[in-house]
């Protein structure tokens, strides 16, 4: 059983609780051990970079140093946490002066950064470490024909990490196909959801949310699958406000990709955090009988 240090992040503690629950269940079904990082702290989100880069780096460094104690790769299900800790790890490895400065601060908590572990996103661990073929073998309840819009968002793929394809990544579609679903080729799959602008510049963010929802509806998506709690919250919880702003009546459920994976792997819905949705999901999704859903969607 392969083990990882698991960094849930602040959103998964409450607002994205179903992501947390479904992550743990799905990982277990795939034979991965996720050990929650001991006494982790906030990654700093984007706001820390508006104030001070060193402070932002120190926040990530503390998490990295704790993960290094067990020599486990650090896995984040949130794209924002992933991006922050991924680049802090790179900057600290490449810049000895920066690492010295940060390490002097880490002494206060008896920690030390040496750069011995890697930072990974949850979906990337599933796709690369478990493998799409292996996941396909474990599917017991295929999501046959379910029209899912895979929404990558921004910070999972951007800025570039290693040799990743930043313009036309396909791994999310491949994963959904392995679950038996019918991934839709939305042109907005990499377009921003508005992120924290939902708080600071509401009008702009609602326009960005609306563009994504409209694209999904135009492609007759039954569900949007997300890999980030902020994308999920913006697309689902602000769907109402976006509709009001643009005089539309769009209604698309937005689920975490782990919830869909869990269903396909035969895990009971109540162990995947279902029931917390604000935009209701097709009832048949949880009980099979896919054909009715498809007919209803037209």
């Amino acid at each position: 059983m392969k083990a990882y240090a698991y960094f849930p992040g602040c959103s998964l503690e409450r607002m994205a609780r179903s992501y947390h629950i479904s992550t743990l269940e799905t990982a277990r079904a795939l034979g991965l051990e996720l050990k929650e990082l001991e006494d982790w702290n906030c990654c700093g989100a984007t706001a820390y970079f508006h104030i001070d880069e060193l402070l932002a780096c120190a926040l990530s460094a503390r998490n990295l140093a704790i993960a290094e104690k067990d020599n486990l790769d650090l896995v984040a299900p949130c794209s924002g946490c992933y991006k922050n800790m991924y680049f802090a790890n790179i900057h600290l490895r490449e810049d000895a002066d920066l690492a010295e400065h940060i390490n002097a601060a880490l002494e206060e908590d008896s920690l030390h950064f040496s750069g011995t572990i890697n930072v990974r996103h949850l979906i990337e661990v599933f796709v690369n470490d478990v493998g799409i073929q292996e996941i396909k073998k474990k599917v017991t309840r295929p999501l046959t024909g379910l029209r899912i819009a895979p929404y990558y968002g921004c910070q999972l793929v951007r800025p570039r990490k290693d040799h990743q394809d930043v313009e036309q990544p396909q791994f999310f579609e491949e994963l959904l196909s392995a679950l038996g679903a019918a991934p839709i080729r939305c042109i907005t799959k990499l377009r921003c959801c508005g992120a924290s602008l939902i708080v600071t510049n509401r009008k702009a963010a609602l326009a960005m949310v609306h563009t994504l929802l409209q694209d999904a509806v135009d492609h007759r998506a039954e569900v949007i699958a997300t890999v980030c709690p902020l994308c999920q919250i913006n697309l689902e919880c602000y769907q109402n406000q976006a509709n009001r702003e643009f005089g539309t009546k769009l209604s698309v459920p937005v689920l975490y990709f782990t919830q869909l994976m869990g269903l396909a792997l035969g895990i009971p819905p109540k162990r995947l955090g279902f029931g917390r949705e604000i935009v209701s999901i097709p009832r048949t999704l949880l009980h099979g009988e896919k054909k009715e859903v498809a007919a209803h969607a037209r």
Partner: protein
């Protein structure tokens, strides 16, 4: 009195952590503006902001709302043919304007960022409802009602945090951050 650096040099210095080219490499092709999902809300596009930095128009840049409308999506950064890290430049401009306390009036971003940073220094973890005072007051009655409805829906689904979470070794955590910069003023 020491001579002050030109604005374009100051911005270049602010970008010390960026791995890519400085703004002087910009060829004004406009790929950043064409690719930006928030450009229609900005008073100056990213391309214009770069041109203004190079023209040393410090006050005009700081008075712009452009960088406060950057959602940090990095689309411009990965598409820039000159490999300028434009997103990082937007972050740098936010920091610069907060340090100088010089930004367009009425923006929510600066106050929200400050409150977020101080709340993390206090608890080590984010507590979303605690950040509400920095923005709901600026939404007007209609916005406030809409936001209350959204919050209520989340609450009914058990998704609204009620009790703030906290890092266990909070004293060590604060001392750790205190060694980076004296955060007494912030916390």
């Amino acid at each position: 009195m020491t001579a002050r650096l030109p604005f374009s040099k100051e911005v270049a210095n602010l970008l010390w952590a960026a791995e890519r080219s400085p703004v002087t490499a910009c060829i004004q092709c406009g790929t950043c503006s064409a690719t930006c999902p928030a450009v229609e809300f900005m008073d100056h596009s990213p391309r214009e902001i770069i041109a203004m930095i190079r023209a040393e128009l410090r006050d005009k840049v700081l008075a712009s709302n452009a960088f406060w409308y950057c959602a940090s999506c990095y689309q411009c950064t990965v598409r820039c043919p000159q490999r300028i890290d434009i997103t990082d430049m937007m972050y740098a401009l936010k920091r610069y304007s907060i340090w100088r306390n010089q930004y367009q009036k009425g923006l929510i971003g600066p106050g929200f960022s400050k409150l977020f940073v101080t709340s993390i220094i206090k608890r080590g973890k984010a507590f979303e409802p605690g950040l509400a005072p920095s923005y709901v007051s600026k939404y007007g009655l209609r916005g406030l009602l809409a936001e209350s409805c959204t919050a209520l829906r989340l609450f009914l689904k058990g998704r609204l945090p009620v009790i703030p979470a906290r890092v266990k070794r909070i004293k060590q955590f604060r001392r750790l951050l205190g060694r980076i910069i004296p955060v007494g003023g912030l916390a």
